[in-house]
Symmetry: C2
Subunit: 147 residues, 2 copies
């Protein structure tokens, strides 16, 4: 007997359930830092993609281009991110400010606490299978999401 009798066993439904649950947990740890786990991930990605354009960063995040544009607004307002126009005037070169790097570094211990808490609740084995399932899915569907 399934724990979810009568349900359609929708993979997307499960993903959304789990993502809400896990995101709330991470957010709770990050409250003292003043940023969300989504913002933490964006800062982290921007750090690794210094000077890249909105579209390329959005692709790595598997995020719609316009979504990233919107999500950058609070990060710019907080003074963590700047946009500059380069040789190709259509593109916006994104980069972290010093304050942005500082905020990211300050949030990292709290992020680690959240990650460790998840590991303790799930167990190493289940956490690994979760991470592996995500990586495999990105590998199959993501085109070329990472790097």
């Amino acid at each position: 007997m399934s724990v979810n009798p009568g349900s359609l066993e929708c993979t997307c439904y499960k993903l959304r359930q789990v993502t809400r649950l896990v995101s709330r947990a991470y957010d709770a740890f990050l409250v003292p830092c003043g940023i969300s786990i989504g913002q933490f991930g964006m800062l982290e990605t921007l750090k690794r993609m210094e000077g890249e354009s909105i579209s390329r960063v959005a692709h790595v995040l598997q995020m719609d281009r316009t979504t990233l544009t919107r999500n950058l607004t609070p990060l710019k307002k907080m003074g963590f991110v700047v946009m500059q126009t380069g040789s190709d005037k259509r593109e916006r070169a994104l980069s972290l400010t010093t304050a942005g790097k500082r905020a990211l570094a300050a949030a990292e211990p709290k992020w680690r606490d959240a990650q460790t808490s998840l590991e303790q609740q799930l167990g190493k084995r289940t956490l690994k299978s979760l991470n592996d399932a995500m990586d495999a899915t990105l590998g199959h569907l993501g085109g070329d999401p990472c790097q």
Copy 2:
């Protein structure tokens, strides 16, 4: 060498990436139905929880109570869901209308196409490990999310 060099290997980051990616794919299949995969999942849950309150349905969806309240607005506007007050006047008894049941039934083939497409892209084995990882995570963290 990881595909994500320098990254922090954040489980929540991966979950959010994958959920965005997969949700967009399901949404594409559901376009002709006029509802999103999130709405499909809510209708599906409401069908299985006829007459239940906002808080209880939100708990099953692993959704904040106020989020469900907001998400019900378009479903009520489309005439798919109604709210009634029962014996306990604090509670709202949720239920699908006939139109809601019809819309859900009409969307099911498209949902199945999306689910099948995901299975074909990931392969049966990877899809199963993805589903299992979600179930295990919900089992460990969700308290009592399903049923």
